[in-house]
């Protein structure tokens, strides 16, 4: 069983069994779709094909049986009727010859009398004659005047001598109508013999056959062993003509087969008549019989084609839907993964930053105190030689300590985002506050800041400090990007009247951001190298905005300036 399953498995192409790898890229999905379609089609179509084939064959054999059976019955019953007819006539002649002596029969008058009573019973008898053992016709009653005719040289005479009875093929007599001969022999006590010979009109014979009502397209007739028609036929020539059909092999039982001739396919049945050289033949056009079968076959085929089309259609649709879903899920998962990666990167960097800040803080405190003491000592002793120089050196050290403190402060801010307090904030107001910090720089560098603030902007719930940091960092970034005398435009707006979010756009006409820099713009510690900075500003801003379900989009090209669009939800639940 298992080896059978293994063999089956080997039949399935490898490309279908293997689930396409991620390495395949976008091709993976088209491969997957193709495989799914193939599998679904195979699973659905296989039973359909099997069912259709089995039905086809079953119906075909059942119908054939149904068609062959009546034909066989017809042949058998007709054969019996014909045999009975011949046996009856043969028995009558036997009775005549047994009951009458040679002398009685030789008397012409007597024979005529016998013949007349015979004809009265069986009108198909044409004549009756007595032939002695030398083959001479000794008495005769009939229309031909055959008295004295010598049959000794004829084959039928020899046959009747040997077999005791002879039934001839049909032949045309003197009056040009077909008839056949039955002859019976009687042996005398003296060892001699004589023969009673009668001719029978085939008309009655023909009537027997034509009396059987046949459907149009069917035919029934008798041939002899040379294939010559013994009775007229509908489609196979007249009596005594050669039949176009081949002479079938000997069989007393009815045999049915299919033959193909110039008239097309047809059923051919036959049986040999007992005690005669005749063969009963029946032909039947299959179209007439198979009409029902053809109709059924057509319906089956139509059903099969329609089902196949539906199955293929459904398979394609289902596969497409499924693969699209998978692709969507994959993409979602990938984006979540990237986001997670970014978040965890930020988190570990945060821990690192906090560690650095704490570690640096203590030596910084020592430097601060030592330098402070140095300054004190110089200040408290009035007559110190290089007092001024010493004081400026110490101030410089203290200044650097202060700068370091700012840096550690910012690092810690990055790590902890400080304490959060959500309050109602009017963004327009907040942006103006933030610009207050930069007023001096704008004045010195002659930077024009244009404010396009929406007059009735809805308030948002957020932490003030964090939002200040967001906008300070982004606007500061813009200040660093523009040349002296450059322009910055800040726009606030609601996308719709009751939108969920508020948008703030900060556009500058600076040098723009390269594609490579744009990819990493929100990565911590990433700097373009052009300006000095910690590389944390935008990363912190992004972290704050993203944490509360917002987003920052950057649109920029080198030489065309940059536009930062901050989308903030009105309600920041996680702030």
């Amino acid at each position: 069983m298992s080896s059978f399953i293994n063999k089956l498995r080997e039949l399935i192409p490898k490309s279908i069994k293997d689930f396409p790898d991620y390495g395949e890229g976008p091709r993976r999905y088209s491969l997957l779709r193709k495989n799914l379609i193939l599998i679904i089609c195979a699973i659905a179509l296989l039973p359909l094909v099997l069912m259709a084939s089995i039905n086809y064959l079953e119906y075909q054999s059942a119908l054939k049986e149904e068609m062959v059976k009546p034909l066989r019955r017809l042949i058998t019953s007709t054969k019996h009727t014909l045999e009975l007819f011949l046996t009856e006539r043969e028995s009558t002649l036997r009775l005549l010859i047994r009951e009458r002596s040679f002398e009685e029969l030789r008397e012409q008058k007597r024979l005529v009398h016998i013949f007349q009573s015979l004809k009265h019973e069986f009108p198909e008898f044409v004549d009756l004659g007595l032939i002695d053992s030398s083959g001479l016709q000794r008495s005769y009653s009939g229309p031909y005047g055959l008295l004295g005719k010598d049959y000794s040289g004829q084959t039928w005479f020899h046959e009747v001598q040997v077999r005791g009875v002879h039934i001839s093929d049909v032949f045309l007599g003197y009056r040009e109508f077909p008839h056949f001969v039955i002859a019976v022999k009687k042996d005398t006590v003296a060892g001699d013999f004589y023969v009673l010979r009668a001719t029978i009109d085939t008309e009655k014979f023909n009537n027997l056959i034509s009396g059987i009502s046949l459907r149009p397209g069917s035919d029934m007739f008798i041939i002899n062993r040379q294939g010559v028609l013994q009775t007229p036929s509908r489609y196979h020539g007249n009596v005594l003509e050669k039949s176009p059909l081949p002479v079938p092999p000997v069989s007393q039982e009815a045999v049915i087969s299919e033959v193909v001739d110039e008239q097309g396919e047809k059923l051919f049945g036959y049986a040999y008549l007992r005690g005669s050289s005749s063969i009963l033949i029946v032909t039947k056009k299959p179209g007439e019989v198979l009409g029902g079968w053809f109709a059924l076959r057509g319906e089956l085929l139509l059903l099969f084609i329609v089902s196949t089309v539906i199955i293929i259609f459904v398979a394609i649709k289902t596969s497409r839907l499924l693969v699209d879903r998978i692709q969507e899920a994959d993409q979602k998962r990938e984006s979540v993964y990237i986001e997670m990666e970014h978040t965890s990167k930020l988190a570990s960097l945060g821990r690192l930053a906090a560690g650095v800040a704490h570690e640096v803080n203590n030596p910084l405190a020592i430097i601060n105190e030592k330098a402070g003491l140095l300054k004190d000592l110089v200040q408290f002793s009035k007559e110190y030689q290089d007092r001024q120089k010493m004081l400026s050196l110490v101030d410089s050290v203290l200044g650097s300590v202060s700068r370091c403190r700012d840096i550690t402060h910012r690092l810690l801010g990055f790590a902890k985002r400080m304490d959060v307090k959500v309050e109602t904030i009017y963004l327009n107001q907040l942006i103006e506050e933030v610009l207050g910090f930069l007023e001096k720089e704008a004045f010195h560098r002659n930077i024009k800041v244009e404010l396009k603030l929406a007059p009735e902007l809805a308030p948002i719930a957020h932490d003030r400090g964090q939002l200040q940091q967001v906008f300070l960092n982004i606007i500061n970034n813009a200040f660093e990007a523009v040349e002296d005398g450059g322009n910055i435009a800040i726009t606030t707006r609601e996308q719709e009247k009751h939108a969920e979010t508020i948008e703030v756009e900060i556009a500058d006409d600076g040098g723009g951001i390269s594609v490579e820099d744009l990819k990493h713009i929100f990565d911590p510690f990433y700097t373009s190298g052009k300006v000095q900075g910690t590389g944390l500003g935008l990363s912190i801003a992004y972290g704050i905005v993203a944490k509360c379900g917002g987003d920052i989009k950057v649109h920029s090209a080198v030489g065309e300036g940059s536009t930062f669009t901050v989308k903030l939800p009105k309600n920041c639940a996680t702030a």
Binding site: A357, N361, G372, L377
Partner: protein, 125 residues
Amino acid sequence: MDGYSVLLVDDEEEFVSALSERLMLRGIEVEIALDGEEALARMKEKPPDVVILDVMMPGLSGLEVLKMIRGSHPQTQVILLTGQGSTKEGIEGMRLGAFDYLIKPVDIEEMLERMKEAVKAIGNG
């Protein structure tokens, strides 16, 4: 209100020595302790007006020492020193009865200011 006494508690000897010298230059009486236990011993000997107490120390933590001092010497005011990003401890300390907290590195003038206020608070209390 000059001439008050201060106990400086911090595990960084370099830091404490420099700071104590600076305070002494300004006429303040300064005692030094390098950990919590030493601080408590000094308190027994001679309780100061103000204790400058580092929060992060090996052994007894600043907050534990604070609790003990508040228990044994309610007259002594405690000013905590916290590292940056440790403001939570500072606030927690104030809840436990510290007078105030300062973030390291500390500006000497600010520290003097706070100490003066602390000493004033003793007078009022």
